[in-house]
């Protein structure tokens, strides 16, 4: 007999959220994490003695309702006093700062335009928000719940009023460049505003597809998409989730890598019977929920022989190339950025939308960008525990860095990228290179091996129109259940998508308990 009702593969935030909700509903849940620590991409890593960073360094997409439902505050989750401002860096213009609905230091007309712009987006985000938190309907299904979901989406959009609804349809798949050119005049401002729609995806400002939808998804988070850092950094969130899981009775095993999901078959068909660990140990359970990315789950842990051929083909064809590299710096002191009194907030190094576009152009052809664009953050300002006293951690999300480099990833090409990033930083923060005690570069390939995510994609697979909603990750696996009875998905490769939102984990739990 099985020792647990459910095995959850992966102790990232989605695995933890799903585990908590299932355990609270009375299931015996065992959660297996391959790494020594929980948290997945939000896990804290010491990259230099005394200096720590996580890949997901800020929180923005997690809905207030989830934080409340999981009672994470009582498990120690605290936030700093205010969200982080978004600040386009400029070598010549006066500094600008975007903070929620306010835009400081803007050129003529842009501040007014910004209020109009953000009000419109917030309205759209609010209309869509409920859909990130529910299972998408099955296409062709005529059951009441499926029809209701369709109906509610239609109603929500209609309730925007005719003009706003039409405007939503007009802008929903617009390239960010068109949307921003329509509203704003300042180049640096436009580049900074498109960042949150593009980061982590295979899109640049001129790309049509899902940039606006991604932005709206992120804006459904607790502070309308503004980033916050938990008091103890992202580990604060992970510890709160772990505490909630332990309290709910989840058995957590770290350093416990799953080799295969066990599938047995007889005349009644196939079903899931548990997992085999790398150690050779077998754990029995009729239900296995994987938060690993879809290709890892289906092609590595299960294997094509247990799947349908066209389904396997769609999984193998998923678009999931990661294009973000991470640079972590251990700094001996706080760096000074030109024109800023403090490097507080998210600093965008991208003078124009074209600078982002050109970086993407290079990456498309598997080359390094001549001038990388990046989002820079000094998280130790909010979470002092990340660095020794008086010293700081600087993290930079660098776009666009291809998974495969035409010339191959060698020590030389790694140095070249790191030096380019440091040189670019030096322009905005003269003297910063002298503060660097240690540096770490994580290319998409490094992210793939470090976090066991195929092709190092932040969101497991590209959150694009063809891989969103009832198509995420692909039809027949888009409602958390999979073609194999007993096997479920609960990771970023599910609806609604990546980022630290917890929605895939919560939706999967609801679906399993339904």
């Amino acid at each position: 007999m099985a020792d647990q009702d459910t095995i959850i593969i992966g102790g990232g935030h989605n695995g933890l959220v799903c585990a908590i909700l299932l355990a609270r509903a009375g299931q015996r849940v065992t959660l297996l994490e391959a790494c020594p620590t929980l948290g997945g991409m939000a896990a804290e890593r010491e990259f230099h003695p005394g200096f720590k960073a996580a890949l997901a360094q800020t929180l923005y997409a997690m809905p207030r309702s989830l934080i409340r439902d999981l009672d994470l505050a009582s498990h120690g989750l605290e936030f700093g006093p205010e969200p982080l401002p978004l600040r386009p860096l400029s070598l010549s213009a006066p500094p600008q700062s975007i903070n929620g609905e306010s835009l400081a230091g803007a050129a003529d007309g842009d501040a007014e335009a910004y209020l109009k712009y953000v009000t419109m987006l917030k309205k759209f985000a609010a209309a869509l928000a409920p859909f990130w938190e529910r299972t998408m309907p099955r296409v062709g299904a005529t059951g009441l719940p499926d029809l209701l979901t369709f109906g509610k989406l239609g109603l929500k959009l209609r309730l925007l009023g005719k003009d706003d609804m039409l405007e939503f349809f007009r802008v929903a798949t617009l390239p960010m460049r068109d949307l921003l050119d329509e509203h704003f005049s300042d180049d640096g401002l436009k580049a900074a505003l498109c960042w949150d729609a593009l980061v982590g995806s295979q899109l640049a400002p001129r790309s049509p597809n899902q940039a606006v939808l991604t932005l709206l998804n992120r804006m459904a988070g607790k502070d309308a998409g503004q980033h916050v850092i938990p008091k103890d950094g992202m580990p604060g969130l992970v510890r709160a989730l772990e505490s909630a899981a332990v309290q709910a009775g989840v058995t957590i095993r770290t350093d416990c890598s799953v080799k295969t999901v066990q599938i047995e078959g007889d005349e009644s068909g196939q079903h899931c019977t548990g997992v085999e660990l790398e150690s050779g140990e077998t754990l029995l359970s009729d239900r296995v929920v994987s938060s690993a990315d879809p290709q890892t789950t289906f092609l590595k842990l299960i294997g094509a022989q247990h799947l349908e051929i066209e389904f396997t083909n769609r999984i193998s064809r998923l678009r999931n190339r990661g294009y973000v590299a991470r640079v972590n710096l251990a700094l001996s002191a706080l760096p000074t950025f030109q024109g800023l009194d403090s490097p507080h907030g998210r600093l965008i190094v991208a003078p124009t939308m074209d600078s982002i576009e050109f970086a993407w152009d290079a990456a498309k052809y598997e080359e390094l960008p001549a001038s990388p664009v990046m989002e820079v953050l000094v998280p130790s300002l909010q979470a002092p525990g990340l660095a020794p006293e008086g010293q700081h951690v600087l993290v930079a999300n660098v776009m666009y860095v291809p998974y495969d480099l035409k010339s191959g990833w060698t020590p030389g090409s790694r140095d070249e990228l790191l030096n380019t990033v440091l040189r670019e930083l030096e322009r905005y923060a003269p003297g910063i290179q002298e503060l660097v005690l240690a540096s770490e570069l994580l290319t998409p390939q490094d992210l793939a091996s470090q976090y066991r995510v195929t092709n190092g994609h932040w969101h497991h697979c590209e959150p694009a129109i063809d891989q969103l909603l009832m198509m995420r990750p692909t039809y027949e696996a888009a409602q958390y259940a999979t073609p194999i009875p007993g096997l479920y998905l609960c990771g970023a490769g599910c609806h609604p998508a990546g980022d630290v939102s917890g929605n895939p984990g919560r939706n999967a739990a609801k679906e399993i308990l339904a």
Partner: protein
């Protein structure tokens, strides 16, 4: 090196060389015998519709023997440690039961259980299988092989010169050729025989429902082999036959034909205008004891609910072939219940036969065919009563006897 089948494409003085059909390894002999120049094409090969006279060729199949060129038939080698697992997941039948040097008839379906194609699997060795089918299937095989580490799929269509030898004297011809041991081959057995320093593979298979063999030889030996076969067959009425006679023989045997009985699923545009094995009365090919194969869930659902239509063998009164007829549940033709997919007057059975796709719910009631025909350009129609036949129209004992009779 240019393949010999591409010979018509190699003439640099021909402005249409790139558009020319390929030719079979047996073309040099066939072109002499194709007295009517009745060529059509199959999979890009120049292919005889008939050689001399359709009815003559048909009667050779039923009364003496004939050869049908299967060089254009698609042949794929599936090899490696995972070959069996890969094929077994693709086809609906359980290939674990297939022994060395045996052949089995198989079908394969999309995820939704719609028939992609049917064909035969030859088990040539432990990790070596030959799959044959009517239409190119390489893309599907590649998709099916994805995720299996040790399996290699090779298009071997032009690696063999192959002939189908069918008819009651076929065994006698092979005996006359001196193939020792061919008598022991049971239906679906494979045997190997030395031939001019090479190896002739003989499988007791075919598409006519009668005694017959398929003969597989190195392309280099194609013409000497043809000559030896025709020399041995001279006293046994051997004659090449084409597509038209094949189509008559296979209908009498109750075999399905693509673009007659079924539309290949991967080439079907309209929703569910393709078919499932259950709709084609091939449920016996679907082995649910196998825990997984492609389309299993969809097919199980159809099996439980029963298919809405099913391919049915009909005997039709009168002698007017019911080609393209619509079927009704009453003589007044007021309620449509199906349509005929293939029909003919069967000389050997002496019956007016047809295959028809009929609403399952209507099978218990009367079935009437509205038949259109013309007599010296005057068009007529009649409504004929149909009765369902469960067994193949033509299935002689001699097709199954081992050793076969010498007739």
């Amino acid at each position: 090196m240019m393949n010999r089948t591409d010979i018509l494409r190699s003439d640099t003085s021909d402005p249409f060389a790139g558009e020319r059909l390929k030719v079979s390894y047996f073309h040099d002999r066939e072109k002499v015998l194709n007295l009517r120049d009745a060529w059509s094409s199959w999979n890009g090969f120049k292919f005889a519709d008939y050689y001399y006279d359709v009815d003559y060729e048909y009667f050779c199949i039923r009364n003496t023997c004939g050869t049908y060129d299967i060089c254009p038939m698609q042949k794929y080698l599936i090899e490696g440690d995972d070959a069996l697992r890969m094929l077994n997941r693709m086809v609906t039948r359980d290939l674990n039961k297939l022994r060395d040097n045996r052949v089995t008839y198989v079908a394969w379906c999309t995820d939704a259980g719609r028939l992609i194609d049917d064909g035969t699997v030859f088990r040539l060795g432990e990790n070596r299988y030959l799959l044959t089918c009517g239409s190119p299937c390489l893309a599907w095989l590649r998709k099916s092989a994805f995720g299996f580490t040790n399996v290699e799929v090779t298009d071997a269509t032009e690696d063999w010169a192959a002939l189908s030898l069918q008819g009651p004297t076929s065994f006698a011809v092979l005996q006359r050729m001196g193939l020792d041991g061919v008598a022991a081959l049971k239906p679906f057995d494979i045997g190997h025989f030395p031939f001019l320093g090479g190896t002739l593979m003989v499988s007791r298979t075919g598409f006519t429902g009668d005694l017959g063999y398929e003969l597989w030889i190195d392309p280099e030996l194609a013409l000497p082999f043809w000559d030896a076969l025709y020399a041995a067959g001279a006293d046994f009425g051997i004659q090449p036959y084409g597509e038209s006679a094949t189509n008559m023989a296979r209908l009498e045997a109750g075999f399905i034909m693509p673009y007659m009985e079924f539309n290949e699923a991967l080439k079907t545009v309209n929703f569910e205008y393709d078919q499932t094995p259950f709709e084609l009365d091939l449920g016996w090919l679907v082995d649910f004891k196998k825990p997984h194969f492609n389309g299993r869930a969809a097919l199980l659902e159809q099996k439980l609910n029963g298919p809405e239509v099913v391919l049915t063998k009909l005997n039709i009164e009168g002698n007017k072939p019911a080609e393209e007829s619509i079927l009704y549940s009453d003589k007044k033709c007021s309620r449509e219940i199906g349509y005929v997919t293939s029909a003919m007057w069967s000389p050997v059975v002496k019956a007016n036969i047809a295959l028809a796709m009929i609403d399952t719910a209507a099978l218990k009631g009367e079935i009437w065919a509205e038949i259109y025909y013309q007599r010296e350009l005057r068009h007529h129609h009649k409504v004929a009563r149909c009765t369902i036949q469960s067994k193949p129209f033509w299935s002689p004992e001699r097709a199954r006897l081992t050793p076969p009779g010498l007739l």
